[in-house]
């Protein structure tokens, strides 16, 4: 409880409030019963208008500039070749994403473990695959047949079981391995950062309750770590979608590769083909972003007092708010 005090040289205003410097003839008590007006942002509005005008100009060129050739875009958009490339992009990305997530957890756990051999090995792995450009990794893998004509396992200098490298691994498998090898390195660091961000008290409480170690990690630590892992990992997946276009250089035709190939066959269609590829990449990224929103929301359980609204809930609430509050003074 703090009492409002007046300095002796400042007489309290005539109406008995402690607020000074009011315009004459204002009854503050009366104003206090009305809604407080929010601050307006005129500069924001000016900038918004400016940007909208620029965007409108650009949008206009989309329709007026014939080089965009929208008819051809729609023609190519669902063409079997493009769809096949899209399929490869999706497949390579999806498998690499899953493999790199699981692999990332394993490498991160090794790195965090008290075992010096494991943690040094995983450090070396991360160091190596973060240093080497993905395209180099891919080309290396595709020349593996030259480096190790056969792969096998056996007692050193003793009996061996061996298979020729190329009968073992199809180009797609090699491609996925290449993508995963480098993704795992990044993902491991993402997982490690997430685990380190979990409060030490959580580990202690889990230990004090005698929860078995594996369950401590998967039930207590990882779910909390995922809150920070998910946004970073989704970022990785989106990078992965685009990185998968490097598969083109090892003769796998992904979305970009197909567009590129078709472009050299139909040189007049290059712009529409690039537009088609761009649109598909936009669609993939958007779909992932939507999934991300819901995953993040799921892992925010308990971390925030109230979950963020889904877009649908937000629309519903706004509609309900407009209906129920003609004066706009109740809380929606």
């Amino acid at each position: 409880m703090t009492a409002v005090t007046h300095r002796p040289d400042q007489a309290p205003p005539a109406d008995g409030t402690a607020v000074t410097g009011l315009p004459p003839g204002i009854d503050l008590k009366q104003l206090a019963e009305r809604k407080v007006l929010p601050l307006r942002h005129p500069v924001r509005w000016v900038i918004t208008a400016l940007v909208l005008v620029l965007l409108a100009n650009f949008a206009q060129t989309l329709f007026t500039n014939p080089s965009w050739e929208w008819a051809k875009v729609s023609q190519w958009f669902f063409s079997p070749a493009i769809l096949k490339g899209l399929q490869l992009t999706l497949l390579a990305t999806a498998i690499s994403a899953v493999v790199s997530f699981l692999g990332g957890i394993v490498v991160a756990l090794a790195r965090l473990s008290g075992n010096p051999v494991l943690s040094t090995l995983s450090w070396l792995y991360i160091w190596l695959f973060r240093s080497v450009p993905l395209i180099l990794v891919l080309i290396f893998l595709f020349n593996l047949g030259n480096l190790y004509p056969s792969v096998g396992i056996g007692v050193p200098f003793g009996p061996q079981l061996a298979v020729p490298t190329f009968t073992l691994l199809s180009p797609l498998v090699l491609g996925v391995i290449g993508l995963s090898l480098s993704e795992i390195a990044y993902c491991a660091e993402i997982v490690r950062a997430g685990v380190l961000a979990v409060d030490q008290g959580q580990h202690e409480a889990a230990k004090a309750l005698g929860i078995p170690q594996r369950r401590q990690f998967f039930r207590i630590v990882l779910p909390q770590a995922l809150r920070s892992i998910v946004p970073a990992f989704v970022n990785q997946i989106i990078g992965l979608i685009k990185a998968s276009s490097l598969l083109f250089y090892v003769s796998l035709l992904d979305l970009f590769g197909v567009a590129q190939n078709l472009g050299s066959t139909y040189p007049t269609d290059i712009i529409p083909l690039l537009v088609v590829a761009t649109l598909w990449y936009l669609i993939l990224t958007s779909a992932i972003s939507i999934v991300q929103f819901y995953i993040e929301r799921f892992y925010a359980r308990g971390s925030v007092r109230e979950l963020p609204l889904t877009p649908l809930q937000r629309i519903r609430r706004t509609v309900a708010g407009i209906r129920s509050t003609p004066q706009g003074n109740t809380i929606a």
């Binding site: 309750l209 909390q224 007092r305």
Partner: protein, 253 residues
């Protein structure tokens, strides 16, 4: 009466700083021991050594005659495997100053987590958890998440969580220090109901009134050593040691 906890020559250093300097302490089963001492005197370290969250450099802790966290190996004491230590810990409840509830699990899940992880059927664990939550006055909160509760409520959940394993011993490390003053009472009254229920309690606290009323023994620690020990009347009303006198005059001032 039988000895529940036997601590002998508990010694612990961090770097060249010795935090516990050979603490000896025995606690009888079913009693309440309050541990007092200035900040940094080693109270938390001692408490954490009891359930082996902290490894001792020398000395041992035994619960009902069983060595905790170590075993005899020839002429020495040797660290047990983490898996075995985890099993031993489930016989010792621990209530933290900062509650350390699992924020992503509901109140009910917080209480059932440990029993389920140890093989209790989920249905039975939930039933038991509901009884415990009712006992700490939170029957209506089982679906809430920890952050939706007040500090006092969270600490009461933490006590229910510790009770879920039906431990013989419960350790409290300053259970009310993170609470607003008006919430201290509700947590202390839950602890009070546990005293005299047959459980052995060791409570680190600065609540002298609580110690006077509930404790069977009061232990005063300073600089890693027990400097005074006795009934509340002896230690709180008639302290013999200079440092106990200083401490009490500061806390009670």
């Amino acid at each position: 009466m039988s000895i529940a906890i036997d601590i002998h020559n508990a010694t612990k250093s961090y770097g060249d700083k010795t935090v516990l300097k050979g603490v000896d302490l025995t606690v009888e089963a079913g009693t309440v021991t309050v541990v007092l001492g200035p900040s940094g005197s080693g109270k938390s370290t001692l408490l954490r050594a009891i359930n082996h969250l902290e490894k001792l450099d020398e000395g041992y802790v035994a619960l009902n005659g069983e060595l905790i966290g170590v075993r005899v190996h020839g002429e020495r004491l040797k660290e047990r495997r983490e898996k075995d230590i985890l099993k031993q810990r489930s016989k010792i409840g621990f209530v933290f100053q900062n509650f350390n509830l699992f924020p992503h699990l509901t109140i009910l899940e917080n209480v059932t987590e440990a029993p389920i992880s140890q093989g209790v059927k989920p249905k039975d664990a939930r039933e038991h958890a509901r009884t415990l939550l009712a006992r700490v006055g939170l029957a209506d909160k089982e679906g809430a998440y920890p952050r939706q509760l007040s500090g006092g409520q969270q600490q009461r959940v933490a006590i229910a969580r510790a009770l879920a394993l039906e431990p013989e011993v419960i350790l409290f490390d300053e259970p009310t220090s993170a609470l607003d003053p008006e919430l201290v009472g509700e947590v202390l009254s839950v602890i009070r109901t546990l005293a005299g229920s047959g459980k052995t309690l060791i409570v680190v606290t600065h609540e002298i009134g609580f110690a006077r009323e509930v404790a069977d023994r009061v232990v005063f620690i300073d600089e890693g050593l027990i400097v005074e020990e006795g009934t509340p009347a002896e230690v709180l009303s008639n302290p013999k040691n200079r440092r106990t006198q200083d401490f009490l005059s500061k806390v009670l001032a």
